[in-house]
């Protein structure tokens, strides 16, 4: 069985290599090959899953050691895989949703002449993401970590001829690199502290520490490692302060947004923190930091989501905030890990579904993304409407749907952070977030599918007509919305099912928690107020949120051009000025720095050398003058020289 693990990665990797090196002759069948390999990987995953279920909780984890990677002295890095319940959860999510989105893309990218490459990139992403989640040491995880970064870079910038896309891709990669810095520093710290960075050893060592046993590691070290890991998570999962790239990442094709920037990659941070639970358990301060980051992002994303008119950006904001929930949960320790992962999975379903829905809408609307130019689409694309609606209900946590189960648990856990003020604060934040979520999702729903048509002829000036091949030949016409082809709707339906039932399924006598317990450990949260009260409160804020949204966008007609809006709204439209800050401080500052350095290098560093050369030249020129051609002056110098010679000799004797 173990030997199958490598196959998980091998299949999509093969696909990537073949598709990217294969050349044009693969254009015909490339997308099918890619999809098949993704599905194959999924099948392998399922097989392993069933095999895993066959064994009982403790020895479910599987290992496969391939070869020794970097052996240098004490530094022993291996290419080895570890498949335990946590990894398995991710494997299924990634390959499952991944396959669906492959299928979806077949239709969505139909008119793109570079579809083969697109699928190659998708397979590359799958491979990298799988390496990330089944690596058995941090360095190999790092490989996957940057691998998904690369895939995301390639896919965001897939339409490279759009400068905006290229810039967004670069931005994403750079911001992620900042996070990766954290990860590599964390690995170095682990190496210096434990002499290794394999999950087993590190976590065992820290585990021993936390249980007060032998081999004590200073809490400070653990905190440092924890914070560095958090930095990494922030980068990958678009958490404040490294969240700025996610919004721009929406430049990529919609399936990419669905798979990478909603369902899987952006959740890698959550995986990292959960995986490193033992370390965080030993470092409460680091945990607090995690919780704060989660809480802040939760609100940040939600607020941004409220203000965006671009449907994908609105969803991106929501993604941010949902991941905020997960991070928050992961920061809570054993009471949160399981719920974080659970929300991660359910979110994977409904957010992917929502994005695919959005994609379907855009597909029908000549790639219009401005929700103010939608309206009343429910008649024209019923399937999209239905699936999108279910996803909507799921995310706002409508009772009985997936989001309800997972998010409420997180809110409870937040209230249980500790039985003091903290519990109230973070519980309150989580609760508030639920309300805002309800508001902005309702807003999206209303603006898109209800109200009167506000369609505009495409293309509108600030968009490159040839931006998406689907728009070819539609230039300047009124959109005529239509339901998308089967290849696109089926995945949406499947995901809709997931977003409806997954949560309930997981919560049946806590099956999911039990499933994860051997890996993450689990304690029952003890909230500061009773659980029913929390549920009730959640329902209340939910209703309030929906109501406000209905009053603003349901009752009143939605203006096609956005009103100026309040200060907060305007700030939120610009990602709460975070980008402006980056631009002013980092970009401008950087440019000035480099420019001045270039100057310094040329004038100072180089100048010094050239200066010496020049000064020698000048000296030479002056000494030359002594050679004035007059024999008698030569004689003078001779006589003088002799005098000096004699004097010196006598002097030598004198002293």
């Amino acid at each position: 069985m173990e030997n199958l693990i490598a196959l998980l990665v091998a299949a999509p990797l093969l696909g990537a290599v073949v598709l990217l090196c294969g050349g044009r002759r693969l254009d015909k069948a490339g997308h099918w090959l890619g999809t098949l390999l993704a599905l194959g990987s999924f099948v392998v995953g399922v097989v392993l899953f069933l095999d895993m279920l066959g064994r009982d909780g403790e020895d479910r984890a599987m290992h496969q050691h391939l070869f020794s990677w970097i052996p240098v002295g004490g530094f022993q890095a291996d290419v080895a895989f570890q498949l335990d319940q946590l990894s398995m959860t991710f494997v299924l999510l990634i390959t499952g949703v991944g396959s669906l989105i492959h299928i979806y893309s077949i239709g969505y990218m139909e008119h793109d002449e570079r579809r083969r490459r697109f699928f190659g990139y998708l397979n590359l992403f799958l491979a990298a993401m799988l390496i990330l989640v089944i690596a058995d040491n941090y360095l190999l995880l790092y490989v996957g970590w940057e691998g998904v970064g690369l895939a995301s870079y390639l896919l965001i910038g897939f339409w490279q001829h759009k400068p905006s896309a290229a810039t967004a891709a670069k931005k994403a990669f750079l911001v992620n690199r900042v996070g990766d810095m954290g990860l590599s520093i964390a690995i170095m710290l682990m190496f210096t502290t434990f002499g290794t960075f394999a999950f087993g050893d590190v976590l065992a060592a820290t585990g021993a520490e936390t249980s007060g046993a032998a081999a004590p590691v200073s809490e400070g070290k653990l905190t440092a490692i924890g914070l560095m890991l958090l930095l990494a998570a922030c980068g990958k999962s678009a958490q404040v302060p490294l969240q700025s790239w996610l919004g721009d990442a929406m430049e990529g094709p919609t399936p990419v947004s669905a798979l990478i920037h909603a369902a899987t990659m952006v959740t890698a941070g959550v995986y990292l923190i959960t995986r490193s639970g033992a370390i965080f358990n030993g470092a409460p301060d680091a945990q607090l930091a995690v919780v704060i980051v989660g809480a802040v992002t939760l609100l940040f994303g939600a607020i941004v989501g409220c203000a965006k008119d671009d449907i994908k950006k609105a969803l991106a904001g929501s993604t941010m905030s949902q991941i905020g929930y997960m991070i928050l949960a992961a920061g809570l320790g054993p009471i949160g890990y399981a719920f974080a992962i659970m929300h991660l999975v359910t979110h994977g379903f409904f957010k992917a579904g929502l994005f695919l829905g959005a994609g379907s809408v855009m597909h029908g609307m000549n790639d219009e993304v401005d929700m103010r130019k939608y309206g009343g689409l429910r008649k024209y694309m019923p399937v999209t409407f239905a699936t999108f609606g279910l996803g909507y209900l799921a995310i706002i946590g409508f009772p009985g749907l997936s989001g309800f189960w997972s998010k409420d648990k997180i809110i409870e856990a937040a209230f249980a952070y500790d039985d003091g003020i903290r519990g109230w604060i973070f519980g309150g934040v989580a609760l508030l977030g639920a309300g805002i979520t309800a508001f902005y999702m309702t807003r999206v729903m209303l603006m898109t599918f209800f109200g009167e048509k506000r369609w505009q002829p495409t293309p509108d000036p600030h968009k490159d007509p040839s931006a998406e091949p689907a728009a070819d030949g539609h230039g300047g016409e009124m959109p005529h919305p239509h339901e998308s082809p089967k290849s696109m709707t089926i995945p949406m339906i499947v995901l809709a099912f997931g977003s409806v039932f997954a949560g309930g399924l997981f919560s049946l006598n806590e099956s999911f928690v039990k499933w994860l317990e051997p890996v993450t450990a689990f304690e029952h949260p003890h909230p500061v107020i009773s659980v029913p009260a929390i549920t009730g409160a959640t329902m209340v804020v939910l209703v309030i949120g929906v109501a406000i949204a209905w009053f603003m966008y349901g009752k009143r007609p939605v203006p096609v051009t956005a009103p100026r809006g309040s200060l907060l709204t305007r700030a939120a439209r610009r990602d709460l000025l975070q980008d402006d800050f980056n631009h002013v401080v980092l970009v401008r500052g950087g440019e000035h720095l480099t420019r001045s350095l270039v100057y310094v290098d040329h004038t100072l560093v180089d100048g010094v050398v050239n200066g010496t050369a020049a000064s020698f030249g000048g000296l030479s020129g002056r000494l030359r003058k002594l050679q004035n051609g007059y024999a008698r002056s030569y004689a003078v110098s001779m006589l003088g020289g002799t005098a000096v010679l004699v004097a010196a000799t006598l002097l030598m004797r004198a002293v």
Partner: protein
Amino acid sequence: MSDVVNAGFPLLTATAAVPALGAIATAAVPAAKRTAAKWLALFFSLVTLALAVAVGIRFNTGAEDRYQLTESHSWIADFGVRYELGVDGIGVALIGLTALLIPFIIVAGWHDADPQETGTATDSSVAAGRWRPTQGFFALILMVEAMVILSFEATDVFLFYILFEAMLIPMYFLIGGFGDRAHAGSDENAAAQRSYAAVKFLLYNLVGGLIMLAAVIGLYVVAGTFSLSEIASLRASGELEMATNTERLLFLGFFFAFAVKAPLWPLHTWLPNAMGEATAPVAVLITAVVDKVGTFAMLRFCLQLFPGASEWATPVILVLALISIVYGALLAVGQRDIKRLVAYASISHFGFIIMGIFAMTTQGQSGATLYMVNHGISTAALMLVAGFLISRRGSRLIADYGGAQKVAPVLAGTFLIGSLATLSLPGLAPFVSEFLVLVGTFTRYPVIGIIATFGIVLGALYSLVLYQRTMTGPVKLEVAKMPDLKLRELLVVGPLIVLLVFLGVYPKPVTDLVNPAVKDTLSDVYPGDKTPDPEPEVAAK
């Protein structure tokens, strides 16, 4: 060990002699037979590669004696100079790198030295065929290869010094004589800049070399011999007593020369000019092959001859290396010229190498050695593709490009992989070495290690900015008709990329080769068998 081991076929000598002969043969080819000269040069470089492989096979990683395949003959007894050769793992790795890259350089520069129709063609002597640039070009490349390989093999300080200096001359003619034709500005302007770059290169390195000469003489006065092995035995038997200050002065003399060659901030300014003005293959020759002699020499000579002084100087050198890393990266961001950008990137990378060497840990030095190899390959890949790009558009300015990805996807793809290697993406070779260097530094000097980690962000910055500006965005008019990579060019880039991936996934062969040598070097600096690597707080289970 000196006299006993001359048994068997002098493989090391042969490895250096073959390209030397090749140089002579190539130079002798009559003017009309330009193509023949090219093939001849390629043939000899391939034979050299085969011999290098043979060296790698004959080299026994397990053996306990430090230098293998040794040869030793008396040469200038009066100066105490012997013709002593021998390789350790590091030497083997670098010889391999050199022998590997030269064929690619030759193929990549296939047409770089064809006489131009304009310019000198009118000159009578050209018609008379006395002026044979093509033959000269390839002959010089082979000559450089011979000297570099021999300098990796030399275990006699004087012999090394001679090669270290002598290799400047052919390099000088390569830079000054065969400039990049894609030059902004008039021809004479180009010629002026080119000879400026060549002279700058030569003078910087000559001054470094002369200062080293003083130190070499000083070493002889102190030690009375130039043979590494003898010096080692003298030190072991305690007969060699260097006064602390003497040792430090001598160390500085040596290190200065190597730091110029490497190049280390602030002695770096010759590199951008040289790489900018030279043709892409020659630029690769400079940064991927010749400069490695500098870093190699730090490892082989500075640490072995002056362990105490090396340890004494470490903090300063580490700081300089750190500056090189950040400074080089920042300047790379600020460049307008593709090749200068790559040059500054190389400066940043040399910073990493030097930092790894002087971190004085197993990881650091193994990483540094690995880095030399990987940097050689990755820079070669990036620079050569850049050269192909430049040769198509006839300009080195980044601003003149844009959207090339759409018209020449293969070229763009290879260029991207090159860039990714430069920013040391995991899975590609440079990542392994860079991470090893960082870890090795971090274990001993955490702060420096952390600051150096910023380098990976900056690396990503300049690599991606370069890719974005040249390859993406709307297609520029001049770029629109740009052809994709030809077969010859693909043959150059393809193998390099395969190597990058292979060494990124499975570097074990190289690390196994290098580790023992590094252990020996470290045991020079830290006498006794205690490992210099700091122990982790917690013993892993």
